[in-house]
Amino acid sequence: MRRPGPTRVRRPGRSLTLTALTGIVLVYSLVPLIWLLVNATKSQQGLFSSFGLWFAGDFALWDNVVETLRYDDGIFLRWLGNTLLYVLAGAGGATLLATLGGYGLAKFDFVGRRAVFAIVIGAVAVPGTALAVPTFLMFSRLGLTNTPWAVIIPSLITPFGLYLMWVFAAEAIPDELLEAARCDGASEMRTLFQICLPLLAPGIVTVLLFSMVATWNNYFLPLIMLKDPDWYPLTLGLDAWNAQAATAGGQPVFHLVITGSLLTILPLLAAFLLLQRYWQSGLAAGGVKE
């Protein structure tokens, strides 16, 4: 009698081509980051007199950070605060709405559900850029342009997030669980918040990450909505600093634009590192028949 050995999992063979391809993709995505890191250590003069992917003689990173935070009366911090506000209110609100909507569409049968499905799928196909000008005209009629609302309200709606939550809720929450909860006399609200939300967490984090990145990087919408630099997000602010170099009599501050860009991506990196374990644990949902 032989004891059954551990089940042997067949591992796919190592492919040299695949390794090389992923290696190229890795380099392609890392080079801009390395460039940013290296060049944030250079002074304005050093930027022009040294090789782009290696350090200049002077190490000016700390000076650059301090100057970035102080330049123009410290407006960088104001822009950082604005971006955080847009992300918290916009991406946070978008995630909440997508969760509620997706759950409702997945788990409740009502008239017009197919119509909603068609509209959402259609909306995913329309690029935000195409809607920017009509949105601007609508918001200017409402008197909301040049206010933070003009950036926050359009960010609240993410057809893609709604669709993702809808599909995720349909898979992650068994109908039997809802029926059991209802039999036990739980109200719909209680069912949602105490039973379903934990099950939906991986989907929620995914939508949150997507809408956070979209709101954090949003450029075109604030560009046409906002004229007051006090309400700029970081994207517009850094672009305004960059544009200074292209003005008669303007002061080029390339070193501050680069250092500012580095500081701008740090919070996003932190968010990904903190949230990724919630996100990963959900990727297998529905992948295995239990």
Binding site: F48, S49, F136, L223, A243, A246, A248, G249, Q251
Partner: protein, 444 residues
């Protein structure tokens, strides 16, 4: 790539909105035209005070605002950088079309002013006292704001052209400073032959530069009479420019670098771009953006089309204008008069700006200023002489912002392919003619 798309959409949006603005913007214009505001009204408004929003990107204006608020403590000025150049015009067109969020004062470059004046989007300031200021300003900028049958802004700065060159590079390769454009082409050849890394200048097709050089050569490709416009690049001046520049393009003697890019600053700093023919506002950019060039660069008069000539042209320069639908136009005029004709001018000159006023341009203090960056040269003497030699009779199109935005699609072809420059200019003309016709102009 994304930026290009956004920009294209923004330009398209601006064009659409400009059309909308022409249709519906008549009422506020008429109201503004009927209203007469005297100098006394302006003084009263300054004393009464209020709030002003100014859209401008000119850096020395911040100090002007401080001085203005000290002089008129009841006025609060909010200075907003709503974008540079085209970005700002798009925003302004949007605000005019939406009738909301308009500034009281806007910075508008001379080439763009006719477009706003013709649509009635900016106030005719003749009745406000601007009509008496003709002697205050040099002729070039003054004729630039005298557009569409009125004074539609006050000149803020000017850009009489000169040749900026890197003397160290010229000396190293034994090149003399060219006095004519023919010598300039020869210098370009010698320099590039001596060191293939080095170019005499950069150019990938720049509407402002092209029109400035045609202006200097006496060409008048744009003729405007009310809504009747003619565009013609076959006159002698345009042809002379095209012939000369074609040699530089065909022989690959121009650095393929866009102006204002980081490579451009780098080229100016490391000596691979050896000269620039541009406006007198350039020293401030060299000093702050090309610190490595200190002591190496010099200024010379603009190369001439005819040996021994003194002709010059303007490049760049902008005005401050008052949108027709602005809330407090009397107060707004009070501000731009202070900034562009009053005490603000000296504040801006001290901050490094180049004036458009005769008093400052002729003052011994201004002319005698020695630029450490140019090795102690009295560069303002060259600039002031250039300002007096600007060729008369130039005008821009009433839709020059659009025309410049399609320059690279048409004339830009000559720089990247075998298309001759004259054909490319004809293609630019054709695009502008069809756009102008669509806008309701009679274009030939």
């Amino acid at each position: 790539m994304n930026g290009t798309i956004s920009r294209a959409v923004a330009v398209a949006a601006a064009a659409t909105l400009a059309l909308a603005g022409c249709g519906s913007g008549d009422d506020p214009t008429d109201a503004a035209g009927d209203e007469q505001i005297s100098a006394a009204d302006v003084r009263a408004a300054l004393q009464a005070g209020g709030e002003l929003t100014v859209w401008a990107w000119e850096p020395t204006l911040a100090e002007v605002v401080t001085g203005f608020q000290a002089a008129y403590p009841n006025v609060t000025v909010e200075l907003v950088n709503a974008g540079t150049g085209d970005d700002q015009y798009t925003a302004l067109q949007n605000a005019i079309a939406a009738g909301d969020g308009l500034p009281d004062v806007a910075q508008i470059e001379y080439y763009a002013l006719p477009q706003f004046a013709l649509a009635g989007s900016v106030t005719d300031l003749t009745g406000y006292g601007a009509g008496d200021l003709a002697d205050t300003f040099t002729p070039g900028p003054w004729s630039s704001v005298n557009t569409g049958g009125g004074v539609h802004g006050l000149p803020m700065d000017s850009g009489p052209m000169a040749l900026f060159y890197n003397q160290e590079v010229f000396d190293e390769h034994g090149i003399d400073v060219p006095a004519t454009w023919a010598e300039y082409v020869d210098a370009a050849r010698d320099l590039h032959r001596a060191d293939p890394q080095v170019y005499i200048t950069n150019d990938v097709g720049d509407a402002g530069f092209t029109t400035s050089l045609i202006w200097q050569s006496g060409g008048q490709p744009f003729q405007v009479d009310g809504t009747e416009v003619s565009i013609d690049f076959t006159d002698d001046g345009s042809a002379r420019f095209a012939d000369t520049w074609q040699q530089l393009i065909s022989e690959d003697l121009l650095a393929p670098v866009s102006s204002w890019s980081d490579q451009w600053y780098q080229g100016l700093a490391d000596g691979t771009i050896a000269s620039l023919a541009t406006g007198a506002w350039m020293p401030a950019n060299l000093i702050s953006g090309v610190a490595d060039g200190a002591g190496k660069w010099r200024v010379a008069p603009l190369p001439q089309w005819d040996a021994g000539g003194t002709a010059s042209a303007e490049n760049g320069g902008s005005s401050l204008a008052v949108p027709s639908a602005a809330a407090n136009r009397a107060l707004a005029y009070g501000f731009i008069e202070y900034a562009n004709a009053g005490d603000g001018v000296q504040i801006r000159v001290d901050g490094g700006a180049f004036p458009a006023t005769t008093a400052q341009l002729q003052s011994p203090e201004f002319l005698g200023a020695e630029f450490a960056y140019f090795g102690g040269q009295r560069a303002n003497e060259i600039f002031a002489e250039s300002a007096g030699d600007v060729v008369d009779g130039w005008s821009y199109l009433p839709f020059q912002v659009y025309a410049n935005s399609v320059f690279n699609d048409t004339v830009g072809q000559a720089y990247v392919s075998d298309t001759p420059l004259t054909d490319a200019l004809t293609a630019w003309r054709d695009t502008c003619v069809s756009y102008g016709t669509d806008q309701g102009f009679t274009v030939s």
